[in-house]
């Protein structure tokens, strides 16, 4: 177990170094940071002084080491567009994105699992077929279009829900939350539903496929033969065993949801990291892009690590396999 965790940890560090290197290259080679930071009338002497103060005259690998050190201290420089430290900007925006992503993930699980179970148990009913077809349509719908249609229906035509922003927020230390005010919760509904759509169809299809698989196994037949009620067989025996892969995929999807929030945040002008990033791309604001990349990379690596360990802890078959394969 310890060897496995260490190996995964090492892999994660390598991935972070690669991501950091890409971010570092972005920083140093795309556009000249010196000319970006100095006014156009600066002299050559000014440029050299700036270059020296930024450490750009030092060897390449030393610069990378400095970059990693700074990144570990959360120092990603100053946003070219807003003129404020990038780390402060990201920390300000982080709560909005995380609250949105968490709510979307919760909706996806809370709605996706029951629908998945239903479509597996009543696989031939017309309603199950309808749900399945709808999910295919859902996969073909671009995320931003779902948002626009929801805005059109609920904000423009019915006028019951707000279409942009976060509503009122309450500050809990450094964390600003929209969960505690009525307008914050109302503002959350449309973006969260929009963002949950894709993972919801995924969870639903996964639960359905796994349920169908499990219902065919011998221990389910045996449970039925023992005279257990349908309810006990379906929920206590079958569903429990399908949840392992579902939790894994849902966990892995969480990173994807955070990244996909870029689009949802743009549609609803949700003041999160994604909106910051998309504005950075439009203005070629390299420090923000680099920092966002590192942060998303970190979130992905951490989630992958946790999911791997959970999987390892939950599924005994994996442990046996690894032991058999000689600790590959």
């Amino acid at each position: 177990m310890i060897a496995f965790v260490l190996q995964r940890l090492l892999q994660g560090i390598v991935v972070m170094l690669v991501v950091g290197f890409i971010a570092f290259s972005l920083f140093n080679f795309v556009g000249d940071p010196v000319s970006l930071m100095l006014p156009p009338e600066a002299t050559q002497a000014d440029r050299d002084a700036m270059r020296q103060s930024l450490g750009l005259d030092r060897p390449f690998y030393l610069q990378f080491v400095t970059f990693v050190e700074n990144a570990l201290h959360g120092n990603f420089g100053i946003s070219l567009r807003l003129g404020r430290p990038v780390s402060t900007l990201l920390v300000e925006r982080l709560p909005a994105t995380l609250e949105l992503a968490m709510s979307a993930a919760l909706i996806a699980l809370a709605v996706g699992i029951p629908i998945g179970v239903y479509t597996a148990l009543r696989r031939d009913s017309w309603f199950a077929r309808l749900l399945l077809t709808t999910s295919l349509v859902g996969v073909s719908l671009p995320n931003f279009l779902i948002g626009i249609f929801l805005i059109l229906i609920f904000a423009v035509w019915l006028g019951v829900l707000p279409s942009f922003g976060r509503g009122d927020t309450v500050a809990l230390g450094a964390w600003t939350t929209g969960f505690l005010t009525q307008s914050g919760l109302k503002a959350l509904i449309l973006p969260a539903v929009t963002l949950s759509f894709f993972p919801l169809t995924l969870v639903m299809r996964l639960v359905r496929a796994e349920m169908l698989e499990v219902l065919r196994t011998d221990y389910i037949k045996f449970a039925r033969a023992r005279g257990l009620s349908d309810r006990a067989v379906h929920f206590r025996h079958a569903l429990k065993n399908t949840l392992v892969p579902v939790i894994t995929i849902a966990g892995l999807q969480l990173g994807g949801i955070i990244a996909f929030a870029i689009i949802t945040e743009q549609v609803f002008q949700w003041p999160g990291m994604g909106l910051l990033f998309i504005q950075a791309v439009q203005f070629a604001d390299i420090p923000v892009m680099a920092a966002y990349l590192c942060l998303i990379g970190l979130i992905f690596v951490v989630i992958n690590l946790i999911v791997d360990m959970l999987y390892y802890a939950v599924d005994p078959r994996l442990r046996a396999e690894r032991a058999g394969a000689g600790g590959h």
């Binding site: 073909s140 719908l141 671009p142 626009i148 249609f149 059109l152 423009v156 990244a259 990033f277 070629a284």
Partner: protein, 320 residues
Amino acid sequence: MAQDLGYGTTAGVQAPPPGWLRRFLDGDIFHAFKRSPLTITASLIFLLIVMAALFAPWVAPHNPFDLRTLNLLDAFTPPSWTGRGNPTYLLGTDDQGRDVISAIIFGSRMSLVIGLAATVLAMILGVTLGLLSGYVGGKVDAFIMRVADVQLSFPAILIALLIDGLARASLPKEMHDTLAVYVLILAIAAAGWVNYARTVRGSTLVERNKEYVQAARVIGRHPLAIMFSHVLPNVLGPVLVIATLQIGAAIITESSLSFLGVGVPPTQPSLGTLIRIGNDFLFSGEWWITVFPGAALVILVLSINVLGDWLRDALNPRLR
């Protein structure tokens, strides 16, 4: 085809081998096609959109990019059936008086071109890297697959955004505007090669040890020749299925990028650009500027996905 029909009916005479079209029409795949009304509908719709896009300058009732024909007095005309509409503009006009249906036809042309080009480029890139990875093995394989692993943990849209942002930062503005479409194709392709590479690598690993490859190696053919003229044709089947499904994904990625404002320039709008333009007028009640391009996008992607789904099942012998 005509020859086959003539000979085949004569009794007692051995029929010549049927032509490829005949073979196709008698084959399993076409049989499966005929039995699926959903697939037939989807392919008809897809064909219709492709035709309209191909002949856009002749099919579209107006030229939305000819500034001389635009009249600002016609701006914000609602669809023709709403009562306040104008019969020359079936689906209404946008803020600059452009005919919405013509803009959709030209826009789907742009979306299709970028989606197809990006898919083909990703396929070439992925198949080449997959062949190399599977055939050469060793360090090359390890390197390519690690890169693929790292990339796969990031969503395609993020990678495409990053490449686009890179190009934006490193190219001068005017140059970026002229190159925007190519940058976009490259960005989407670079985000999508991994699927092909993984699949091709897997089947190449199997093919590599077969006798025909060993024979080719023994007679001293160049490794590149073996890869591309011997192994490639045998690993291409699954690649085509992935490609069909990827066209839809590529079109969605393109429209998302254009919607975010980092895709194609507004002078050559794609469906995503049209939706973004219309989005600004959603609140003032001009819903048709957004809704119709949006519906066109959904219909296009849905028809491609239905075709791809069907192709995957039809080519999968286990499901027959």
